[in-house]
């Protein structure tokens, strides 16, 4: 069940161009070569609140296992951003078109990943966000 991720960076910021290509890397479970075999699928929400919303809830069973998070701000407005936090610690702001791909250890149950349409107003329009989680913990779903 190979799920693979690749990043290609090209830049002419420096005097000489920079080209980084990770190649397709297989997403594996913690500490081994077994492939990640679960996902939330690709989801989409329209954010219309400056309040933090839980995108991925941390789970004790996932503590220090391997998980990968993908989030993209699909807004076409460069000024509209989504603030991404983990346990109230701001990672960064995804402006229109920006994406992120990070490992997520769920070190504790407070380590949920949250998003907020921080500069949203009723006149800016919603901010569409797409996201996916690839993980290995079998008990990711929250108990009812």
């Amino acid at each position: 069940m190979a799920t693979q991720a690749q990043l290609i960076l090209t830049s002419d910021v420096s005097g000489d161009p920079t080209n980084v290509d990770t190649g397709l890397i297989t997403l594996t479970k913690a500490g081994g070569t077994n492939e990640l075999d679960q996902t939330t699928g690709l989801g989409r929400v329209h954010l219309r609140s400056t309040t933090n919303k839980v995108l991925f809830a941390a789970n004790a069973e996932g503590n220090d296992l391997a998980a990968k998070v993908y989030i993209i701000n699909k807004s076409e407005d460069a000024a509209l951003y989504v603030t991404v936090t983990i346990n109230a610690q701001t990672i960064g702001k995804l402006y229109g078109g920006d994406f992120m791909f990070i490992p997520w250890s769920q070190t504790d149950t407070a380590a949920s990943i949250e998003v907020a349409a921080t500069n949203w107003t009723s006149s800016t329009g919603d901010i569409p966000v797409e996201y996916a989680l690839f993980h290995e913990d079998t008990d990711y779903l929250t108990n009812a």
Binding site: Q6, S11, T22, A78, F101
Partner: protein, 134 residues
Amino acid sequence: MATTTAQLILTSTDLLSDSLSVSAIGTLTGAGNSTGLTGTEGLGRKKLASGHAQYVLFEAGNRTADKAHKIYLKNTSTTAAEYFLITLNGEDMGRLYAGDWAFFPWSAHDSDNDIKIDPSADDMTLEYMLFTDD
């Protein structure tokens, strides 16, 4: 104007019953505008030969706060069990296992918002790059 582009390709043919294919490409721009980022600390590598203790990779105090900095990290190890733990102001983000990479925005919203790295073993090499919006 300087142009930096980042492209992500996510693909899986058999994780789900239907194949998954995601491609995203974007130009890295300043906070809230369409001007390309013009600063970088360059593509670098860091290896701690011994002691494998946590170290500060990027100091928030060196950056303009609340901007659109971008960070690229890659674990170049080929030993599956070796990882770098990425920490943000004391909060663990995640473990970057052998071959894994990460790409994310960094607000550097205050001077405590350092990006710290903790290798799980000696002699591990981290590849990194920071695009700055100062």
